[in-house]
């Protein structure tokens, strides 16, 4: 697992642990870096880093604001491309995938949950949850079926036609979670999923994420809250674009 591209980068044996054979690895970052350039200023949002996410892992990422947590999540979620290094997702080199293929990967493999829910305000919960299936070309009947199952699984079947803005934050986040789960993702990425919720609603969402992990989905969750992080199997620390074990 030595990338020619980044000889200068010393591998952190710990973070790539378990990836030696590659068999269990779902997502492997090998010297991945992301720099942003705005004018003359260059920001190293991610310093060259290694990470191995094995199938079934439940990882938490903590770190101060601006340390690069979201950037890491965007790279893992194929929403952003690394500026250096190699990212293997399920054995595929993401750098080789076209924009279209990346969209297909996001559609089929990755579930997203964001702090600010990101629901379509004018649409019912059901239509929000159906969205990924729509881009997958799933027929309407099946879409409805799967959407109501997903809503069921987050405990929301009763008020399916209500608009998001008629719901509490906790319910909105559960709709968002249902939208991520309806794809049956292999990798669930959550960026401060409880950040906007009171503790009771947050707990409910956390439980659902835990359930998902227990059911075999690989989860990576960003959080500020050590208590929340403690629910994961492993916590990583992010600081100034670098990653280390807690």
């Amino acid at each position: 697992m030595t990338a020619d591209a980044n000889k200068a980068h010393p591998h952190d044996p710990f973070l790539v642990e378990g990836c030696a054979d590659g068999a269990e690895a779902l997502a492997v970052l090998d010297g991945v870096a992301r720099t942003y350039r705005s004018g003359a200023v260059e920001v190293e949002a991610l310093k060259p880093l290694d990470l191995c996410v094995r199938r079934g892992d439940f990882l938490a990422v903590m770190g101060p604001s601006g340390s690069g947590k979201s950037t890491l999540l965007h790279v893992l979620g194929c929403l952003d491309r690394p500026t250096a290094g190699r990212y293997l997702l399920d054995g595929h080199d993401v750098a080789r995938l076209s924009d279209r293929e990346l969209a297909a990967v996001r559609n089929a493999v990755i579930g997203f949950v964001f702090q600010r829910f990101h629901l379509l305000a004018d649409e019912s919960a059901r239509r929000n949850v159906e969205l990924p299936l729509l881009y997958a070309g799933v027929a309407r009947g099946e879409r409805r079926q799967r959407a109501s199952e997903a809503l069921d699984s987050v405990g929301l079947s009763a008020r399916m036609t209500h608009r998001p803005n008629q719901r509490s934050g906790g319910e909105q986040q559960r709709v968002a979670l249902a939208r991520a789960l309806v794809k049956r993702p292999r990798l669930l990425l959550a960026d401060e999923p409880t950040g906007n919720l009171d503790s009771k609603a947050g707990e409910r969402v956390l439980q659902l994420i835990e359930d998902q992990s227990r059911a075999g989905t690989t989860v990576l969750m960003i959080t500020h809250d050590p208590e929340v992080a403690a629910r994961a199997e492993q916590t990583l620390l992010m600081r100034d674009g670098g990653l280390s074990r807690a």
């Binding site: 990101h118 969205l131 881009y135």
Partner: protein, 428 residues
Amino acid sequence: MNRRMRSVIREGLLHVTRHPLRSSLTAFTSAIAIAVTVNVISLSFGMQEDIAGDVDLFGRHTLDVGVPPALAPGVKRPSLGEAQVERTRRLLTGLDPIVVPRRQRAAPIRVDGIDEPYRLQVVAAAPAYLRTLSIPVAHGRWLRADDAPGSPELEGTCCLDEASAVRLWPQRDPAEAVGARLEMRIDGVARTMRVVGVLSDPLRYRELFETFDEGRGARTLTSSLLSFRNIYVPAATFGPGDYTGISIVLPTDEAVLEAQERLIAVWADARDLAALSRGSLIVFVRKQWMEALGTSTMQGSMVGNLVWILVVLVAAVMISTLNLITVRERYDEVALRRCEGAQRRDIALQITVEGVTTALIGGIVGLPIGYVGAHVLREIVQFPFRFELRYAAVATGVAILLGLISSVIPARHAATLQPARVLGRRLR
């Protein structure tokens, strides 16, 4: 079209219905543009087609042999007498022509209750002259072989163009001219003529026509003849002497061309300016003159077309801007759709569907507005107007085009959005 594409299109349509205010604003802009388009198309195309129809009445299969209007100093005026009429007949042997020589003069015309006489063209020809035109007699009858020629001693018979009747009796219906008497002075001799018939006016857009005709500068005998503000009298009303022209009707387009060729082999082509001063007779094909008129109205309708094209462009810029602002408010939505698997082209398609739908809705609203507007315009300024289903089809096409054009920039903008930047609160 696959299911995914259909779904994306549906998303676009749904968005339009979910934002009625915004969609109406866009649609309204489109409606105005389409209303103007329908209006102008109805006016300019309608007018052009009407004129094309009108000129048929002037004698599509008629040509004239005449004396050129302007001769160079010292050049002898060519004679146009019985010999030339005979020669014309001989030249056209086998083409089945109707050959009608005519004499024509401007003369002062006086009617009851008018002190100042009008000068009108008086045309003296055999009754067959009507066959060189395709104009129906509106009131009364046309001249007959047994009609009395006007003479100082004897009251004669005449027919009028409708425009002449209107000019002589502005307060009266042209039909009432039948039976009226007028006095004309020809060669210094006054005669009284009784009107027996009025020809209908072939010029629907007379003012436009006359502006064009005067714009051509040289007002020839033929062009004043074709202004249809004449008085027609029996051939014998004028004394012997040279004819003003010979009008010839042929049965077909081909015969007209053949006749033209044979005649200009002997005399000059009216379009050959140099020949006009050589002292030759000239040959004038009415259809070619009409085509010149058609080109001129075509130029007029080009100007009209420019107007609606400009209005549509302005609307396109406005709708583009509206759509762009809308897209800017929808970064979160677009980014989310991209997260969930939308490709760039799915986003572009959705934005385009939204744009085309609103523009089309506007267009459909604009159609009747434009239609009514053109009607009102006609009432106010007496402008020609005509509406046909074809124009509605064109306007609908324009609305779709408008939607497409005004979606290009917003669609590109939305499609190239970087979702990671939006989610990181760094818009775009």
